[in-house]
């Protein structure tokens, strides 16, 4: 970490801020890895299976299942790329956070209705036998991811980010 100059109009960066900027980088890499992997795992799967994973929640009407099944993996991968690059970090983090909220709500809904499904979070999905569900674990895991996204919403400003190159933090 090279010492750095006070920027125009910005005054000195406190050590705490420097520290935070690097934590944000770590969080970005972690969140991008999780999201990117989740998206890729779904994306590389047989298309029929993707649709089954979505329809097994029995939430979306039939006509919407296919676009969601095909679009969601790409959405996850695109958001992962943006987060990794640090491009519009705060807005992208909000999108990711919303996505996780939707996922968690979906799992809770499936649980509450007594469905026996796999969340299909990292590919797979669809019906599983009674007693083979892991809803609580899936929800806690997604809550953990939500915390990462929340960090980025609060502290989007980080090193090695496109936002910085584009001059988002000049003031």
């Amino acid at each position: 970490m090279a010492g750095h100059k006070p920027r125009a109009g910005g005054g000195f960066l406190s050590p705490a801020l420097q520290y935070q900027e690097w934590i944000t980088v770590v969080v970005r890499v972690a969140l991008a890895a999780i999201l990117g992997y989740a998206g890729y795992a779904k994306f590389s799967e047989a298309q029929g299976l993707q649709k089954v994973a979505v329809s097994s929640y029995e939430i979306l009407p039939k006509g919407v299942v296919t676009p969601v099944a095909f679009g969601l993996p790409v959405l996850e991968m695109a958001l992962a790329a943006m987060i990794l690059l640090g491009f519009a970090t705060r807005v992208m983090a909000v999108c990711v956070g919303l996505l996780f909220v939707v996922f968690i709500a979906g799992i809770i809904s499936a649980w509450a209705r007594g469905l026996s499904i796999d969340c299909g979070c990292f590919g797979g999905g669809g019906a599983v036998g009674k007693g083979q569900t892991h809803y609580l674990r899936e929800i806690l895991r997604d809550l953990g991811f939500l915390v990462l996204a929340a960090w980025l919403m609060v502290f989007p400003r980080g090193r090695l980010a496109l936002d910085r190159v584009l001059g988002l933090y000049a003031v």
């Binding site: 109009g9 799967e45 047989a46 298309q47 029929g48 299976l49 649709k51 089954v52 329809s55 029995e58 009407p61 039939k62 296919t66 676009p67 095909f70 679009g71 790409v74 959405l75 991968m77 695109a78 958001l79 943006m82 491009f87 519009a88 705060r90 807005v91 992208m92 999108c95 796999d118 797979g124 999905g125 669809g126 019906a127 599983v128 036998g129 936002d163 584009l166 001059g167 988002l168 000049a170 003031v171």
Partner: protein, 281 residues
């Protein structure tokens, strides 16, 4: 006010103005960056969905191989006299994964059958008889109608039934619709209508279900046996390229449509568990 003071306040105003300007620029830049990021993400998704929806590399438009009804009510689709691997499909018309399987691999199966590279046996049965209505009744009516349908239009009828599969938990496959689809395929007649409306094939349906569940140990659908070997769902059944490979690599069997069909299966399947994720009973 002294001259110096006036100058200072003017400088301050100017600085204030500049700061204000810079902030405004910053906000505009932020907005631009955010918007372009959102647009990029949205475009990526929309483009993928568009192309994923369009592409159907396995579309098969050729003629179907001739179909005939076996003595156990299964429908055999295959080139007459073809010595080819035997593919047995155990399906419930109300099963969503069967529908997915038909959509992703149905074309490949039909093409291979027409080329004489596989003999396909369809076993429509009533997997969902212990489910609550409407699933139970939907499943029953569709299977009954399929058993009423003549063999030469059977595969087309089977496709049409799947195409109109009601969403899980909603009513569908009404006898009226089932007769309507027969009409559109040109094989509707009073006998067929009576067969559908009177559930005249219930006995055969029970037999078929019994055969699937007791004899062949089918516990979920789709269960597909290739030369008696159960195929896995995600790797093979929903992946037409792998399915084709598996079929082409399988042992041809003598199963000419003209010879009398075997009423008892010669071999019990070595793998009889249902594919994972489909245990749905």
């Amino acid at each position: 006010m002294s001259k110096a003071a006036r100058q200072r306040s003017a400088r301050e105003r100017l600085a204030e103005e500049r700061r204000h300007q810079a902030q405004k620029q910053q906000r505009a830049r932020m907005l631009m960056i955010s918007l372009s990021a959102l647009v990029i993400v949205a475009l990526a998704v929309v483009i993928t969905v568009y192309f994923a929806n369009k592409k159907d590399p396995n579309a098969y438009t050729g003629a179907f191989a001739p179909a005939s009804r076996q003595s156990d009510e299964a429908v055999l689709m295959g080139k007459p006299g073809a010595k080819a691997p035997k593919l047995e499909l155990f399906e419930d018309f109300q099963c969503p994964i069967c529908h997915e399987f038909e959509k992703s691999s149905g074309n490949t199966i039909k093409r291979l059958a027409a080329e004489g590279k596989v003999n396909v046996l369809y076993y429509p049965f009533w997997l969902f008889k212990q489910q609550p209505d409407p699933v139970r009744g939907n499943s029953q009516r569709a299977a009954n109608a399929a058993l009423c349908a003549p063999a030469d239009k059977w595969v087309q009828y089977h496709d049409l039934i799947y195409k109109n599969q009601p969403a899980e938990g909603s009513d569908g496959f009404s006898n009226k619709d089932l007769i309507g689809w027969a009409k559109s395929l040109g094989f509707d007649n009073p006998a067929f209508e009576k067969c559908v409306n009177g559930s005249q094939k219930q006995g055969q349906l029970d037999q078929m279900t019994n055969y699937a569940e007791q004899t062949r140990k089918v516990t979920g659908t789709p269960t597909v046996y290739l030369d008696g070997q159960s195929l896995d769902l995600s790797g093979t059944l929903l992946n037409p390229a792998n399915l084709e490979k598996a079929i082409l690599a399988a042992q041809p069997m003598d199963l000419s449509p003209s010879t009398s069909p075997s009423t008892s299966p010669s071999t019990s399947p070595s793998v009889s568990a249902s594919p994972s994720g489909t245990a749905k009973k």
